[in-house]
Subunit: 89 residues, 4 copies
């Protein structure tokens, strides 16, 4: 159910991206194209945040409540990694 | 020619995005999906930079060498705006 | 101990920032100043990631292992919020 | 004059950063510290945009109106570089 919402959003973004390709084909103004690309990136950030939220509620909760210290360590490390990367893209 | 390269890159990114939709449909691991979304964003940043470069060499150069102070002001303002936005997405 | 490391890093960044102020006072080349500001931002991102890591290992782990669903909900919501914000700054 | 405004803003940011160091020393809540660091980064982005604007109006305009193609090429390349980097920090 949650992933249907994610798929719906990603398909909207795919449509947006195809619109940008048409803009380039039709020789649209460069700055307008860059702005549309930035809008796609903002939309992708929202999807990532939504996926992270559902990840925290499922896998991360299970791992942290579980008995395996390596697994706990692993899920936390992954969150820090995507957090760090999110400021780089 | 330059825009063919841009179109080619954007189509590759579109394919990448479709791959991410498949990952969500097939219930892939959340963190792997987020990492792929971040890779798409990094690729979009490169395309934006490429478009900005060609914009600087064409429209911006024409405007700055031209006699219309409003036009010069306008192209510079746009660059500052996309620069500021680029750190927000 | 962990926070001593954070303080040490933040003080280094503060010194870096004071160096940038001197660059502006001495009329350094604009692009060099922007690059130094970007280096400060990259360093701040690293500190944030380090703080998030220690937050996950302490407060978040306690909350998720605890019995209060509101508290669990709260800590997860905060992580999603700082993750979303991290792509905007 | 313009650079006095930049210096004033950077000194405000320096004060903000010192406040964050105090927060860490006084063991403030991790998420609050991360949010303050993100506020500092947002403020730094604004200063960068302001510096870029004055750079465009001075050095870049001079170079683009000038007769040296290497110099024109150089200033444009630098703008693309800081633009690309701005999405990475």
């Amino acid at each position: 159910m949650k992933s249907e919402e994610t798929i719906r959003r990603l398909k909207t973004i795919e449509g947006h991206l195809r619109g940008i390709i048409r803009m380039v084909e039709e020789d649209a103004y460069c700055i307008d194209i860059i702005r549309q690309i930035q809008a796609v990136e903002a939309a992708l950030n929202k999807v990532s945040a939504q996926i992270l939220e559902s990840h925290l509620k499922s896998c991360v909760t299970t791992a942290i409540r579980g008995d395996d210290p390596n697994e706990r360590e692993r899920v936390m490390k992954e969150i820090v990694e995507v957090f760090e990367m999110s400021s780089k893209v």
